[in-house]
């Protein structure tokens, strides 16, 4: 069935956004979306990591959970969402301010929202010294409603809920996903491993997986070895780092530090059979 022009636009705009997100993965903090790992080991002054039941979160010096105000959800209310939190919002949320003399280095993109002076006029580029939210490092500074304010992962202006208690994450996802706790996932480890080995953050630590996200494990199976599927390599595979290839079996199998490696086949790909030990970097 033919797709009309308007239908294309209705469907295409969000779809294009999705493509963009795939190219710059996981910049979101909402719990139902992938949580991007931290890339920085230094935080704004006073910010620390606090333990939480489901996720570790960033907290301020008083131990109060930091929340990110996702600017993307607020475009309807203000063409510059960085200025959104005033009046009623400011009465509830305390911004994590940068030093007063700090120079902002990020701004909410104008893009489609830029007023067109004349047809065909391209939107102005970023001012010198600014980065786009898509390419932002973990911590940047934006010109907020109360002055220079910290931003996490490009989109999340950082606040503390006034009157909250230490360890409280109650408002995670509040107001339609506008307010989300700033969840901390450690930086991805650098691997020296076969090319189809990756690292997955699960159960509070990184585990090694195959390219499909199934955890790798070693160990000794008991009498019944169902589920102990060898992690195979190619005939031409070569040893790398702590990994060696054993070509003796019918299919070459990877060994890690001398132990045969298997790959989980379970419905929960992060679990392993009894007797198995998850490989961790």
């Amino acid at each position: 069935m033919a797709v009309t022009r308007s239908q294309f636009w209705l469907m295409a705009v969000p779809a294009l956004s999705l493509i963009g997100s795939a190219m710059t993965p996981a910049t979101a903090q909402p719990a139902d979306l992938p949580i991007p790992p931290a890339t920085a080991s230094e935080y704004p002054q006073g910010v620390k990591i606090a333990k939480s039941s489901a996720y570790n979160v960033y907290a301020n010096k008083r131990g109060l959970t930091l929340y990110g105000m996702d600017m993307r959800t607020l475009l309807r209310w203000n063409p510059d969402p960085a200025k959104y939190c005033q009046a009623e919002c400011a009465a509830k949320w305390e911004p994590l301010l940068a030093p007063k003399d700090a120079k902002p280095n990020i701004m909410f993109p104008r893009g489609f929202g830029e007023r067109r002076v004349a047809p065909g006029t391209p939107p102005p580029g970023l001012p010198a010294g600014f980065v786009s939210p898509q390419a932002a490092p973990d911590w940047t500074i934006i010109d907020g409603a109360a002055g220079p304010q910290w931003v996490y992962k490009g989109w999340h202006m950082v606040f503390v809920r006034k009157g909250s208690k230490r360890g409280s994450n109650d408002l995670d996802g509040a107001e339609g996903g506008t307010w989300n706790t700033l969840k901390f996932v450690p930086p991805v480890p650098v691997l020296t491993a076969p090319s189809n080995v990756a690292a997955l953050f699960t159960s509070g630590a990184y585990a090694l997986t195959d390219k499909d996200g199934r955890v790798l494990f070693t160990g000794q199976c008991d009498a019944i070895c169902d589920g102990w599927v060898p992690f195979t390599g190619g005939m031409a595979s070569r040893a790398i780092g702590d990994w060696q290839i054993n070509t003796a079996p019918d299919a070459p199998q990877w060994h890690y530090r001398g132990k045969a490696v298997f790959v989980s086949q379970r419905d929960d790909p992060t679990s392993v059979p009894a007797g198995g030990t998850v490989l961790r970097p």
């Binding site: 969000p14 475009l75 007023r115």
Partner: protein, 402 residues
């Protein structure tokens, strides 16, 4: 103020049993009533129904979830809603309009109508529709609409509105969303052909993004049953389709409560082969480009039907046909072009501000008890569901949910 409630009651009793031919005659000159269902959707009982399974459990996957549009020129006698370019021209004095429409002035015209989509401080009519004032748009002039009677003849917590009659003659139909949106090209399409919305929603259901399942429990009879549990939920499982894009019957699906999916537990009863659920809030997945790098509102949208209810008729072929009705927050109606931003106006010609303003004018539900103002419109979606095996969310998992 609601209209003709007392008269409606009497008409319902008789109209429910009108044969199809009689119903069409009652509609009069309307043509092309619907290309995907009976004009008495969800309101006419069928006579020959099989017995339900011995365990009383029946599963369905929703194949059609479509804003019901009644085609015919009586609905929009002045034509469909003007696109932003035409709206701009229409507001001009005739001489200026004539001048700008000359080919040599095309560039000037484009510059001017596009500039009209932007406001101060980088606002535009689709990203910040609240910040613009527009003329009202063309609305449906016909007295007929599909939908459900949501207020039951009472105006206690609704706002003034005119009611429709269904093509079968049932009066008291509440569907202000159709009144406002029913003349847009996205809804109406080229006359007689389903519009963009119909095509788009079908695609979203086929893709697994919005796919819905219905699970009935405790069904003793398809003709009469005083108490049926109805699980109306989303599933992450993508339907298998045949070469023409129809869902295959008897496929397996699992209900899911993992966001953005929802699971609604409703109570219903079957009367004369029609399943009707008690009014309660119903939420279902509606994702638009979730996780996008520019705007993630899509991930947060949902079908949000306040005081929603299902009215579904069992069909001899084992399928269900009918309606989901309820009151919808007005902004939800324009979520898609709103997320699209000014591109929705520049490319698709949609005036989101005009839509929102008109929706607010005709809002008839979700009334604020303090101000008396309504922020929602009555709405209906046409449903066709086919038999499927539906595995409910495990009990242990449900216990951990709110």
């Amino acid at each position: 103020m609601t209209y003709a409630k007392a008269r409606k009651r009497n008409l319902i009793r008789t109209a429910c049993f009108l044969p199809l031919g009689g119903a069409l005659l009652a509609v009069g000159p309307m043509t092309g009533v619907a290309d995907f269902g009976s004009p008495a959707i969800g309101q006419q009982a069928v006579t020959k129904l099989p017995n339900p399974p011995a365990d009383g459990i029946m599963g369905f996957v929703v194949e059609d979830f479509i804003p019901p549009v009644i085609q015919g020129k009586d609905a929009c006698p002045e034509g469909t809603v003007r696109k932003v370019r035409d709206e701009y021209l229409a507001a001009l004095p005739e001489a200026e309009r004539t001048r700008l429409m000359l080919k040599e002035n095309e560039e000037e015209l484009v510059a001017k109508w596009q500039a009209s989509l932007f406001g101060s401080n980088n606002t535009n009519i689709c990203s910040q529709p609240d910040m613009f004032t527009r003329a009202d748009m063309r609305t449906v002039q016909s007295k007929f609409s599909h939908g459900l009677d949501l207020d039951g003849g009472k105006s206690v917590d609704t706002c003034a509105h005119e009611e429709f009659a269904s093509p079968a003659g049932v009066t008291g139909i509440d569907n202000q969303e159709y009144r406002v949106m029913g003349c847009t090209l996205e809804w109406r399409g080229v006359d007689g052909i389903a519009g963009d919305q119909a095509i788009g929603t079908r695609q979203f259901h086929a893709s697994g993004e919005w796919t819905q399942v219905i699970l009935l429990k405790g069904v003793d009879s398809l003709q009469h049953d005083d108490s049926v549990e109805v699980i109306y939920a989303n599933t992450p499982d993508r339907p298998v389709q045949d070469s023409k894009g129809h869902f295959l019957r008897g496929a397996s699906f699992s209900a899911s409560t993992k966001l953005p999916r929802h699971r609604n537990v409703l109570h219903g009863r079957i009367e004369n082969g029609v399943l009707t659920t008690d009014p309660q809030d119903i939420m279902l997945a509606q994702t638009w480009g979730q996780g996008g790098s520019r705007d993630i509102r899509g991930n947060r949208t949902k079908f949000d039907y306040r005081r929603g209810k299902l009215q579904l008729t069992f069909q001899p072929d084992g399928s269900l046909r009918g309606m989901l009705g309820g009151y919808k927050p007005v902004f939800d109606v324009i979520q898609s072009p709103g997320i699209g931003g000014v591109g929705s106006a520049l490319v698709a010609g949609i005036d989101c501000a005009q839509y929102l303003q008109t929706l607010r004018k005709y809002a008839d539900g979700i009334r604020d008890p303090k101000t008396g103002k309504c922020s929602g419109v009555s709405s209906a979606m046409q449903i066709r569901a086919i038999p499927a095996f539906v595995n409910d969310v495990p009990a242990a998992e449900r216990m951990t949910k709110r």
